[in-house]
Amino acid sequence: MAELYLPSTLPPLFPGLPRRLELDATTVAEALDRLDERWPGVRDRLCEPGPGLRTHIHVYVDRERAALDTALEPRSRVDVITAISGG
């Protein structure tokens, strides 16, 4: 199970969505798909239409910058960060 940490801006949009949760997934994209199955629409808040993260959403897997196709280990930590903008 990968351990997923979400930014504080997401839970207010999706009732019941926690900041931290565990998911069974082999890639970042799969983790976001699992998330979207339980909270429809959450993937759209993190990804552009098509295979890409939104410009100012950064994902780290085990502290390394990651993309949607980055593989997850069974105990990977995935940090989703709202980066750079918002001033």
Binding site: T9, D44, R45, E48, P49, S85
Partner: protein, 360 residues
């Protein structure tokens, strides 16, 4: 007794202000929409819902909705997008909302119009105005200003659901009479202070309004001048003479008098604020033949404030209230058609839109 409600979209969320029919004191609530940047927030008189077009720099474009005057909110962007693939247009934000005949129209950047027929739960692409004169250039990245060109507004016809007008920034007005199946440029008579390859398009229409008293009468604040149409946009006559500046964004038409119209002239250079630091709204009561400055109660010293495209609204009371919000967060109201003004909010975030509703 009815309430008058102002719906204020700001850079940091949506706010609501409520008053009674006298419109002398106001109670403010908000911020709503999790402080997302709001570009335009509107009220649907048929359902009572509020819709707010938003674009988070992190989480993208979405439309928030509240069915209960701000008590609860949800957001959805399902269907708001141009699809996948390298050649697909990017949707950077939803810039303008229009509610008409059971539909919600959303004007988007890059240029396109989306619609929702289920109260904002899902959206579908109605048109990109593909093939219209100018369309080959308006999606070219080389032609883009900071941000993108887009469709900032859709103006509906009150009696014909299939007839409406869309503005494409820097290109002009297009009219459809068959629900977006075909379009016609409606810019004849407008001025352009730059060379035009095709005189049908190339105009910078900032704000287009229709007289609620006469749907044949349209007004617009353009990048260069204020213009009037007496034939539903088929031709335009410039009515700038008498105003202190030809430039501005916001405009509003009187609800009961087709000849009365309001604008807020701004410095057209880098400033884009009211001239000489003196705040004023300007009104014509003779369809643009003459203009009067309305500034009683507005700051007349050191008021370097601007008002954006959707930043002014007018209500439908017998003596209408006029409202405007500044890009520095002050909100002003007049309960006597602009004769006198008071500041009803001082420290809001940058105000992008002001709309007004009368609710029971």
């Amino acid at each position: 007794m009815s309430k008058t409600v102002l719906i204020v979209g700001t850079y940091k969320g949506c706010f609501l202000l409520e008053s009674d029919e006298a419109r002398r004191s106001w109670e403010l609530r908000g911020p709503f929409c999790e402080n997302w940047p709001i570009f335009h927030a509107v009220h649907d008189p048929a359902t009572g819902s509020i819709y707010a077009a938003a674009a988070s720099e992190w989480h993208g474009a979405s439309v928030w909705r509240s069915p209960d005057l701000g008590e609860t909110w949800t957001q959805s962007s399902e269907g708001l997008g141009y699809g996948e693939g390298e050649d697909a247009l990017k949707l950077s934000k939803v810039s303008g909302l229009t509610v008409a005949n059971g539909r919600i129209f959303a004007g988007a950047e890059n240029p396109g119009v989306f619609e929702s027929r289920d109260g904002g739960e899902t959206w579908s692409l109605l048109t990109t105005l593909e093939g219209q004169p100018g369309s080959d250039a308006w999606n070219d990245p080389a032609n883009q200003p900071p941000g993108h060109l887009g469709v900032p507004a859709i103006l509906p016809h009150p009696d014909d659901p299939a007839r409406y007008w869309a503005i494409v920034q820097g290109v002009g007005i297009f009219e459809t009479r068959d629900d977006a199946a075909s379009w016609t440029p409606r810019n004849r008579g407008l001025r352009a202070d730059w060379p035009l390859e095709n005189p049908e398009v190339g105009y910078c229409v900032h704000k287009l309004v229709m007289s609620p008293a006469d749907p044949d009468r349209l007004y617009q604040q353009n990048h260069v001048g204020v213009h009037r149409s007496d034939d539903t946009g088929e031709s335009w006559t410039e009515i700038t003479d008498g105003l202190p500046s030809e430039f501005g964004f916001a405009a509003a038409a009187h609800p009961h008098d087709r000849d009365t119209f309001y604008v807020i002239p701004l410095d057209g250079g880098h400033g884009r604020v009211m001239p000489e630091g003196r705040a004023a709204v300007w009104r014509t009561q003779d369809a643009g033949a003459s203009w009067e400055r309305l500034d009683e109660g507005l700051p007349q010293h050191d008021a370097h404030v601007g008002v954006l495209r959707e930043g002014m609204a007018i209500d439908t009371h017998d003596e209408p209230g006029v409202y405007f919000g500044t890009s520095t967060g002050q909100l002003f109201a007049s309960a006597d058609a602009g004769e006198s003004w008071s500041e009803i909010a001082t420290y809001l975030p940058q105000i992008r839109s002001v709309e007004v509703a009368i609710v029971d």
